[in-house]
Amino acid sequence: MSETHELVLIVSHPNGLHLRPAALFVRTAARFHSTITVSNLSRVGSLPVDAKSMFGVMQLGVAEGHTIEVHSAGDDAAAALVAIQRLVANDFEEQA
């Protein structure tokens, strides 16, 4: 059963969504079946990109303090957003 969810988060990691945090973000998103997109609300004209694409997430240019919007659609949409929310809230500390 398909559902759609949205979430707005502030990235407080000092490196923003740069290499390592971006990789963790992408890997987290890739664990779910849902279609997940993310956009950078702090950059004018930033379009939503595939959250499972490293290149996509990189080109958002998310720096410290930027606000991102995550959108998910699919049977595990809610769980995906919970996982992403937790990752960002924990400042991308690797989960055991």
Partner: protein, 555 residues
């Protein structure tokens, strides 16, 4: 049977490893490759191969306690398998019907261009990751490179490398560089020395016949590449390397001991660097200042020039790291062999005699002004000095002085923190400046750029590998000219230093001190051996050596 190739020493050291070809075979060959199954299925296999190779090296690095380097490779693995890349390649292969190799090239090229256009310096650097992934995919496709050897113990064989490639490769823990083209003062050699990676350049076209995946030794000091060495040779050079490493740690141990000749005459050894991040390397090797910060590297490999704020941050970082030691920043030296993609291409028959250095600034003053603003704003953070490149006449200097004054006035009105009374000097690299140094009133110091001064004095292109062996920068003509500059500087009580590769050669450094040029700036890794050489001689011995250098060619 060992095969020997002779080139020029680019950066010192001995490296053992396996050859890896960086150049891709011609696309014509690749399009003829028969593919089992569909093209996209083949691409998926290539992706898996590259991902596996990258992940393998990433876990190696993690195991070695290098999590930052591992993270870079792990992120590249994600890029190699990226749905955006797959979609771009698929569109080109299936819709546009272009060969896979070209599709990879076009897709990664477009992605790279997009990252370069972003106004975030960190992300622009990441463009290099995409480019690297594209190259690895193409190499996997052509089968020239066993990807598992791409990143460790690799002796990289290439026709020539761009500064970008050299800088990118430094992150991959390679053993050494071997290039067919290039010279001892080219960018590859300069970067390799700064990074402490052995390099042999100018090996000639014969290098391109060397296959990938064979064992090799790079005896970089002698400019030698040994292909498939015997076990005796391996033993010999392993021992040699151990001896060198012991000598190196002995030299590093004297860092911090006052730098004087045997009889107590002081000298200063400074570092030439291309990026503020190299300050730590410079200090580790015992540099007592930065004699040359080349600023082109802050501007190369990007879609637009660095803005004033980004430049300010870079200069401030460097001054902070050097903690009140002198830092000489050379203003933008574009033109000649250094081109910036986003600037107008000048139609010049002789770029080295054309609009470069200060001439470029005069022609396109906006970037120069932004750089001056950033420099004056950073100046309160330390001992900053500004050096003007390619000065030939006093008018060049008075123009620049006027610009500095103008920028200082603007800053005064804008109310930001800045310092206007920054020493301004010239790079002595045109014979005109060397011959008529006394004409240049109003400068606070001068630094001899021996690479270009030699090129212009000997009328021999320093990027031409066949010429540099015959027309050397240690020719008596150069030493006599340097003697003249040193004498003029002494008469004018003008501080003089030298920041060319001549200073990095211990025997030449001794002669330079003998000429009265006691401030020498060089690649950081050359400092310990030059220091050791200078500490072992007396002042009168240096003078003797200087006289010899001016007279005969000592072979």
């Amino acid at each position: 049977m060992t095969r020997l190739l002779q080139g020029l020493s680019g950066a010192p050291g001995i490296a053992f490893g396996t050859t890896v070809r960086l150049d891709l075979p011609s696309p014509v060959l690749q399009t003829a490759l028969p593919l089992a199954g569909g093209v996209m299925e083949h691409f998926t296999r290539l992706q898996a191969q590259v991902v596996a190779a990258l992940q393998a090296v990433a876990s190696e690095l993690r195991a070695e306690g290098k999590p930052d380097e591992a993270a870079i490779l792990a992120a590249q693995a994600l890029l190699a398998n990226d749905p955006a890349l797959t979609a771009e390649v698929r569109r080109r292969v299936l819709d546009e019907q272009i060969p896979l190799v070209d599709a990879i090239q076009a897709a990664t090229g477009a992605m790279t261009a997009l990252l370069r256009s972003l106004d975030d310096p960190y992300l622009r650097e990441r463009a290099g990751d995409v480019l690297a992934v594209g190259k690895q995919l193409q190499q996997a496709l052509s089968g020239t490179t066993p990807t598992h050897t791409l990143l460790t113990n690799a002796i990289v064989i290439s026709h020539d490398l761009t500064p970008l490639e050299t800088a990118t490769l430094r992150k991959s823990g390679i053993a050494g560089f071997a290039t067919a083209g290039g010279t001892t003062t080219g960018h590859v050699a300069i970067l390799a020395r700064a990074l402490g990676i052995p390099a042999v350049v100018g090996l000639g076209e014969a290098l391109m016949d060397v296959p990938a995946g064979v064992p090799a030794i790079l005896v970089a000091d002698s400019g030698l590449l040994m292909i498939e060495p015997s076990s005796d040779e391996i033993a010999l050079y392993t021992a040699e390397r151990a001896t060198r490493q012991a000598a190196e740690s002995r030299r590093l141990a004297v860092v911090g001991v006052p730098a004087t000749t045997r009889d107590g005459s002081p000298f200063d050894l400074w570092a030439n660097i291309g990026h503020p991040s190299e300050a730590q390397t410079a200090l580790r090797y015992g540099a007592s200042g930065i004699g040359l910060l080349r600023t082109e590297f802050l501007l190369l490999d990007r879609a637009a020039p660095a803005g004033e704020d980004e430049q300010y941050a870079a200069y401030a970082e460097l001054l902070q790291a050097m903690a009140d030691r002198p830092v000489i920043v050379r203003t933008l030296d574009v033109g000649g062999d250094k081109r910036l993609a986003y600037l107008p291409e000048l139609d010049e028959a002789n770029p080295f005699l054309g609009t470069r250095g200060i001439r470029w600034a005069i022609r396109f003053p906006d970037m120069f002004r932004a750089q001056l603003r950033a420099l004056l704003r950073a100046a309160p953070r330390g001992d900053l000095r500004i050096m003007l490149p390619m000065v030939a006449t006093p008018e060049d200097v008075s123009w620049a002085r006027g610009e500095i004054e103008g920028v200082a006035n603007e800053l005064a009105l804008s109310g930001v923190d800045y310092r206007a009374e920054v020493p301004v000097g010239i790079m002595v690299e045109t014979p005109a400046a060397a011959i008529t140094l006394d004409r240049f009133g109003g400068i606070d110091f001068c630094s001899i750029g021996s690479n270009d001064l030699a090129q212009y004095t000997l009328a021999a292109d320093r990027t031409d590998a066949t010429l540099v062996q015959r027309y050397r920068s240690d020719d008596p003509a150069i030493f006599r000219l340097l003697r003249m500059v040193a004498a003029s500087a002494a008469r004018l009580a003008l501080p003089v230093s030298l920041c060319g590769e001549l200073a990095a050669e211990p025997q030449h450094a001794i002669a330079l001190v003998g000429l009265g040029i006691g401030k020498l700036s060089m690649s950081p890794s050359a400092i310990p051996q030059v220091r050791e050489a200078l500490q072992s001689v007396s002042l009168s011995e240096t003078k003797q050596r200087a006289a010899q250098a001016c007279d005969y060619h000592q072979e």
